[in-house]
């Protein structure tokens, strides 16, 4: 246990983080002098995450990068940790805390990009229904706000967003119920990575694939398949692989005393990308390589 320990703490178990984990693995190969850990909390609550960080510090971690489930309200916990070891945020930021830097994308910008896909796909406007896991989570609210901003004045309206608490069965039946109860909906937005696949399956079962425009987030295989097939208008992807990879290097350098990687505003933005029919194949290839490698 004499190697310095670097920990990457995520907000909940999901496939999304598998990519970050791949990035961390890659970094581990390049940083043999460090012990890199990738940790999931037992449940996606800020309380458990903060307890997990306390335990990590107690167990000897030397630097932590965290994707907080609730950064706004974890500032004290962050400051407590940051008082003991260097702390970085990823995925969602807490600028008011004493964290060293943020590394990740901007959810608001991602929402705007999704809105732009919608505007391009429905020049005549439309009525959209959104689906998300936790309505109250920061990333959900930012994405929704970004989407709303982008479609303003375009005749497209986001009528409502339905939450499912990450229960896949409810995620699916929420889509089923909307199809049954709201025949006027002609566009759907899946804000969390598993929402688009559920939309896809529900539309497939109802025989409405293609009839309803779908805007997706993230890179679930079903989502990418649907984009390639043309059933989805497009998807906005983040780059968690880089978060893990760059994040570990950043922390290692920081511990070595090299602070050149930290910009003045403390924000290291990894841009989000729009994936549509045109670039989906290339994107998927890159993805496979990363996970495989």
């Amino acid at each position: 246990q004499d190697k310095p320990q670097l920990a990457f703490v995520v907000n909940a178990a999901s496939d999304f983080w598998k990519l970050a984990e791949a990035g961390v693995k890659k970094a581990q190969a390049e940083l043999p002098g460090y012990d890199l850990q990738f940790r999931y909390p037992a449940q996606g609550t800020a309380a458990l995450q903060n307890a997990l960080m306390d335990d990590l510090v107690a167990a000897g971690a030397d630097a932590i990068m965290i994707s907080s489930a609730d950064p706004k309200n974890s500032i004290d916990a962050f400051n407590r940790i940051a008082g003991q070891v260097p702390l970085f945020t990823t995925d969602s930021d807490a600028p008011a805390s004493k964290r060293i830097a943020y590394l990740g994308s901007s959810n608001t910008l991602a929402g705007v990009q999704a809105g732009e896909i919608a505007v391009a796909a429905m020049p005549d406007g439309g009525k959209c229904m959104g689906f998300v896991g936790f309505l109250g989570a920061d990333n959900a609210m930012e994405r929704i706000a970004g989407f709303r901003k982008a479609v303003e004045g375009s005749g497209i309206e986001l009528v409502d967003v339905r939450g499912d608490d990450v229960d896949f069965a409810r995620a699916r039946s929420n889509v089923d119920d909307v199809l049954a109860a709201n025949p006027d909906i002609n566009c759907m937005v899946g804000f969390y990575s598993y929402n688009p696949p559920k939309i896809y399956e529900a539309l497939q079962a109802a025989g409405k694939l293609g009839a309803i425009k779908v805007i997706a987030f993230d890179e679930d295989p079903i989502t990418l398949g649907a984009v390639r097939e043309g059933s989805f208008a497009g998807t906005v992807v983040q780059d968690p692989y880089q978060w893990g990879y760059q994040g570990m290097h950043l922390m290692a350098k920081y511990l070595d005393g090299d602070k050149s990687g930290i910009p003045a505003d403390g924000l290291i933005i990894v841009p989000t990308k729009v994936i549509d029919k045109a670039n989906v194949d290339a994107f998927e290839k890159e993805l496979k390589e990363r996970i495989g490698g």
Binding site: K18, S173, D177, L179, E201
Partner: protein
């Protein structure tokens, strides 16, 4: 049909009528089909839970079991290319073994059902998450298993096959619980285990069988759920389902003290729970109020049912007074029944 079941059925119809008046799409074939599908899925393992509750036990592990078996099934079929009938048999076998383990720990090693199945809840969920390394198990894009899909998510005449499966299981279980010798022994064991043993009933066997039935039906439900969601996220798939199952059974007239309950009741309980879920989406109630509506309707319904029964019992007693008929005993049974908390 039991009197209790009748009250529940009335509640279901009243709620349904109220929703229909607000949004006639409630009775549209699509919506009925979707709801029937969910009823089928949840009904399957709620029936299983009924058997366990009948013995005075509880099975908290069903939600986790749905996740673990779901992950295994999807991986077997989607990743390892196991033919699906073989995979289903394997899942059933694993489920049965888990149920057997519960039963034996409870009857042989005399552990409390709550403790055993709480450990099951923790262990199975942990195994599911550990096995996949927190990744979602899913079928590859475009993968298609026509026969399996027909069986699980297919529909005939607009009725989902999961619903048919539940009805079929329900009928068999009705005979098992209400008409077979085993069912009678189950009721006796649930009421008074010692006395049942004195009567020569092999109580250990009967109780173990209840856990096996519960786990086996949960395994069936796990396959249906996995096919419905098409992918299984081990950390959240099936969360709280044990609560749904127990709630369906309790609403359906099962007593957690054991010895009481009917199959029709638990199915109606599952129907009510899904109707309430559906109602929220259909009436456009903010999903945040979902739970509140559900809770309020259940509370009001159970309360109304109970008060109505009390009133009827009183009326009956008064009637007995009128017609000068001492034979209609004003069932002082009422007294002990309603005194029976949990």
């Amino acid at each position: 049909m039991h009197k209790k079941d009748f009250g529940l059925a009335v509640l279901i119809i009243v709620v349904g009528a109220a929703v229909y008046l607000q949004n006639p799409l409630f009775l549209s074939p699509i919506n009925l089909g979707n709801t029937a599908n969910l009823i089928g899925l949840f009904g399957l393992f709620a029936i299983g839970q009924g058997f366990v509750i009948m013995t005075g036990g509880i099975d908290l592990s069903v939600g986790s079991m749905v996740a673990l078996l779901g992950v295994l099934f999807v991986d077997m079929v989607g990743k390892f290319g196991v033919p699906w009938p073989v995979a289903i048999l394997a899942i059933l076998a694993i489920g049965t073994l888990l149920g057997l383990a519960h039963g034996l720990l409870i009857t042989r090693l005399r552990m409390q059902p709550f403790v055993v199945t709480l450990c099951g809840l923790l262990i199975y969920r942990g195994l599911a998450r550990g096995y996949t390394g927190e990744a979602t198990a899913g079928f590859p894009f475009g993968a298609s298993y026509p026969a399996l899909e027909w069986l699980t998510i297919g529909r005939s005449f607009g009725v989902p096959h999961s619903f048919f499966a539940m009805i079929l299981v329900g009928i068999v279980c009705w005979f098992v619980l209400h008409r077979s010798v085993f069912g009678r022994h189950l009721q006796a064991v649930g009421k008074n285990e010692d006395a049942a043993r004195y009567s020569g009933i092999r109580t250990g066997l009967v109780i173990t069988a209840a856990y096996v039935i519960c786990a086996a039906l949960t395994a069936v439900a796990a396959v249906y759920f996995a096919m419905f969601t098409r992918s299984v996220q081990p950390s959240s798939h099936g969360n709280f389902y044990e609560l749904y199952a127990i709630a369906a059974a309790v609403l359906g007239g099962f007593s957690l003290r054991g010895g009481e309950g009917s199959i029709i009741g638990v199915i109606l309980g599952a129907v009510l729970l899904q109707e309430l879920q559906n109602l929220v989406n259909l009436l456009g109630i903010p999903s945040s109020l979902n739970f509140a509506v559900m809770g309020a309707v259940i509370l009001a319904g159970v309360l109304a049912d109970q008060q109505f029964n009390l009133y009827r019992a009183k009326r009956r007693a008064a009637a007995a007074l009128d017609i000068q008929d001492t034979k209609i005993a004003p069932s002082s049974r009422q007294k002990s029944e309603i005194g029976g908390y949990i």
